[in-house]
């Protein structure tokens, strides 16, 4: 006589199959969401780094600011920058938050000859690697530095 108690092997196999088929895309979605959350975290930190760097540069006197910007013209690891090291220690960020995060400062001269000695555009770009990928994402802010001693 056939018992109605318990689960048959076939039921378990079918269930596992269905669950597997259903969960796989869900897991993918979880992974994607996780990566998104991770990336947003990085993005947030990158924003902090970019703002902090741009504000710091904007505080400098005109000529000094330009020199500093040109000095920071190549990709630099955030963790290699002494000022950020101080900042991250101050707000207790983990070094891995900045893992392979780079910044770069680009200077664009003023558009007209008259404005050349009076202003230039600073663009601070911070980039970070996308998890499990060889690509990088970046974030940038732009502002104009003006000569105040006219």
């Amino acid at each position: 006589m056939k018992s109605d108690k318990g689960m048959s092997f076939i039921e378990i196999i079918i269930t596992l199959f269905i669950v597997t088929v259903a969960v796989l895309p869900l897991l993918t979605s979880i992974g994607s969401t996780g990566r998104g959350v991770y990336s947003m975290g990085k993005h947030q930190i990158a924003g902090l780094v970019a703002r902090s760097l741009l504000d710091r540069l904007m505080q400098l006197p005109f000529a000094e600011c330009r020199n500093k910007c040109l000095e920071l013209g190549s990709e630099t690891l955030v963790t290699a920058d002494a000022d950020f090291a101080r900042l991250s220690a101050l707000i207790a960020f983990d070094a891995k938050d900045y893992d392979r995060m780079n910044f770069k400062v680009n200077v664009t001269d003023a558009s007209t000859a008259e404005e050349q000695s009076l202003m230039f555009v600073i663009e601070v770009t911070v980039s970070w690697p996308v998890a499990n990928s060889n690509t990088r994402r970046d974030l940038s802010f732009r502002a104009i530095k003006y000569e105040t001693r006219i």
Binding site: K5, E11, T15, V37, G47, T112, E115, L118, M119, R142
Partner: protein, 723 residues
């Protein structure tokens, strides 16, 4: 009935239920995660947009301020006027449109510029100290704010930034003091004696117009030196203010300056008898009388004298009144002067006092306030002296001799008019070489107006005020007059309600003084309230002034909390004037402004039109004023300073050397000096071999003193809004 333990035994089909529940939970979790994640992403995106817009807006207000500054620098008259005349709620006169760089950046960011607004806010005039009466019809200095509102649109939102930028309008020349080429409010401390070795103002001994170093009298200070000569650029100028006034104080103390003689016409650098006008021979009516140059030989050479020739009643007779300054020739026992003076002035108590210390007769003033050189031909000897070219404030008196002669040349009548104070005295008739008698009869005045006399009177304090003291100034009617603060009329309309020696105490304060801390009202009503930038030290100041870029840009009133040492500036340095307040000592090297002296000796520069033109080219807005707020010493490490105003004033009870040349050479100074005690003795010793040249750029006395509009680098308010 089922056993309760059966409830936990899996039933057929329940596996599907479990799987469905699990899947639901997973879906729910993913939904929550996704929702949270997308919310966070939206927030992040918004934050980025907000930040991008903020930087764009900061660039916008920066562009507005930058354009304002450029137009201010370029002296945009309308814009400057709008700042100077500003009242709360008005707008500066500027048609602003975003610059190209800003426009390009905004386009690159896809940010749309929407609008801007610039409004003056909380404008208040800066107060003046009680001593100053600022004219009601002129705009005072002011402080206030520029409210700048900018709005941009970015993605789906509008963003607005509203900032409050402080600004000030301040004069870049020091009121009152800017009109004085030389201002010494405690010079009285340098003249404890009115004549003699203790008189630190009168210590130069000259012979034949040159320095005499032969004096050995113990009472005379050796070695001998040249004077601090302050000479106006123009030989004749109807506008006295353009020559720079002089104040010798205190206002209630007498300063007596001995006048030197002159040996050869044109050797004006040691002759300041120009200050004496025949108007002092009252009550003789001198209006149409001749003044001639007369010379007399002495064993030391020829001396030139200014001589007033007064016709007498007797036909062809005249009285010649010869002005003789204090010089070495007077003290020469072998020269004619000693006999003349002894003979004619025997009864003059003042002369007897000088004669008792004869060497002191050779002293002349260490401070020389030159005017037009009569002998150099700038003024015709046939016309009366013009009004004194330089206004001298303070109780300042001159001292010199008058030798009176009763003269009829063709009859060889040449009788000395001896000193005699007796009322109604009538001298004996003059006798010609032909034996004829000529009575001395005058048309106006009495004998004592014509007799030989020492025009300094008794050097004792009681008689310093009598008619025999000749003030340096004349009033409009040509009468001698002492100039006090009540006579000061600033070209800008400023008047003074109190004596000049009180000005510094009300206008200048140590940055850290107790008075400022205890009475904040003092800040607004003094130079401290005009400060537009403060530097912690001179390094910061030099960086801001852009010295390293070949510039010295002040443009306002800046303060340095400490000493200032400014080495020689390259003559190509671009200089924009202003006031530098130094809370400590000041040391300045060459500030030549492209000036290359071509004339040797440099004192002759004054005679060249090129130099006078150069002085006129020194614009008021380019003048550099250095003020030691602590009243410390100002050291000039080199000898050429053009367009410089040096100020170090404080209350003193003893002389301090407040102006020192570290390397005195051919001093050429165009500007003004205000020091409580310059220590003339020390200075003149420094000028032992080279006569210094102090001159006044007429621009410093402009009726329209330059006003700087200084927009602060700091912000007083900041509001950012997302709409």
């Amino acid at each position: 009935m089922k056993n309760s333990s059966n409830l936990w035994r899996p039933q057929r089909g329940s596996i599907y239920l479990l799987a469905t529940g699990l899947l639901s939970l997973l879906i729910l979790l993913i939904f929550v995660l996704s929702s949270h994640s997308s919310g966070r992403a939206r927030l992040l995106t918004l934050a980025d947009q907000k930040q991008t817009a903020l930087y764009a807006l900061e660039s916008c207000y920066g562009d507005i301020v930058s354009q304002l500054r450029i137009r201010i620098k370029n002296r945009d008259a309308q814009l400057l006027k709008s700042f100077i005349d500003a009242t709360t709620g008005q707008q500066p006169a500027i048609e602003y449109s975003p610059g190209q760089t800003l426009s390009d950046m905004l386009a690159g960011l896809q940010v749309t510029y929407k609008r801007h607004e610039i409004i003056f806010e909380s404008i208040t005039p800066l107060a003046y100290p009680p001593i100053m009466e600022f004219p009601a019809d002129r705009q005072p200095e002011k402080k206030g704010f520029l409210r700048i509102n900018c709005e941009v649109s970015y993605v789906d939102h509008d963003y607005q930034l509203s900032v409050k930028v402080p600004y000030r309008t301040v004069f870049t020349l020091t009121p009152v003091l800017r009109q004085f080429i030389f201002f010494a409010d405690h010079l009285d401390l340098e003249q404890p004696e009115k004549i003699g070795g203790g008189d630190r103002l009168n210590l130069i001994s000259t012979a034949n117009g040159a320095i005499d170093d032969t004096l050995t009298d113990a009472g005379v200070r050796l070695p001998l030196c040249l004077g601090m000569t302050i000479k106006p650029p123009e030989k004749i100028n109807q506008n006295n203010h353009e020559e720079g006034y002089v104040f010798l104080g205190r206002s209630d103390k007498n300063i007596v300056l001995n006048l030197a003689g002159e040996v050869q016409p044109g050797e004006g650098d040691l002759a300041d008898l120009w200050q004496v006008t025949p108007a002092c021979f009252k009550p003789i009516n001198v209006a149409d009388l001749q003044i001639i140059n007369a010379s007399i030989n002495s064993s030391k050479g020829t001396m030139q004298n200014k001589t007033l020739t007064v016709p007498l009643k007797g036909r062809n007779t005249r009285a010649n009144l010869r002005l003789v300054g204090f010089c070495k020739e007077l003290a020469d026992p072998r020269g004619p002067w000693a006999d003349d003076l002894n003979y004619t002035l025997e009864q003059d108590t003042a002369y007897r006092r000088f004669a008792a210390a004869k060497e002191t007769l050779a002293l002349s003033s260490g401070l020389k306030l030159f005017g037009p050189s009569f002998e150099a031909g700038a003024i015709s000897a046939r016309v009366p002296y013009p009004r004194n070219i330089r206004n001298i404030f303070g109780r300042v008196f001159n001292r010199f001799f008058v030798l009176g002669l009763f003269d009829f040349p063709s009859a060889y009548l040449n009788t000395k008019l001896l000193y005699n104070e007796a009322a109604g005295f009538q001298p004996p008739d003059g006798k010609s070489s032909f034996g004829e008698n000529y009575p001395f009869e005058v048309d106006s005045g009495s004998y004592k107006n014509y007799m030989s006399r020492c025009m300094s009177g008794d050097p004792g304090p009681a008689s310093d005020f009598d008619h025999r003291n000749i003030p340096a100034n004349l009033d409009e009617a040509g009468n001698p007059k002492l100039f006090s603060h009540a006579d000061f009329r600033g070209t800008d309309g400023i008047k003074l309600k109190e004596p000049l020696d009180r000005f510094a105490g009300q206008w200048l304060h140590n940055l850290h003084s107790e008075a400022l801390r205890n009475d904040p009202a003092l800040i607004d009503s003094s130079i401290i309230g005009r400060i537009t930038r403060v530097y912690r030290n001179q390094t910061d100041f030099k960086a801001a002034a852009q010295l390293d870029q070949g510039q010295l840009l002040i443009d306002g009133v800046v303060a340095i909390d400490g000493d200032l040492t400014l080495d020689d500036l390259p003559s190509t340095t671009e200089i924009r004037g202003g006031i530098v307040l130094v809370n400590g000592k000041i040391s300045i090297g060459n500030l030549a402004r492209g000036f290359v002296p071509q004339i040797e000796p440099p004192t002759q520069l004054m005679l060249t039109a090129a130099y006078r033109d150069y002085l006129k080219e020194l614009k008021p807005e380019s003048i550099l004023t250095f003020i030691s707020l602590t009243g410390d010493q100002i050291t000039l490490t080199d000898n050429v300073q053009m367009g410089v105003h040096l100020i170090s004033l404080k209350k003193l009870t003893a002389v301090e050397p407040m102006l020192v040349y570290a390397n005195p050479g051919k001093v050429m100074f165009a500007g003004a000096i205000a020091v409580s005690t310059p220590d003339i003795e020390h200075l003149t010793r420094q000028f032992k071999t080279e006569l210094p040249l102090f001159s006044f750029p007429p621009g410093m006395a402009t009726a329209e003193p330059p006003m700087a509009v200084v927009i602060s680098d700091e912000l007083a308010g900041y509001e950012y809004e997302v709409r």
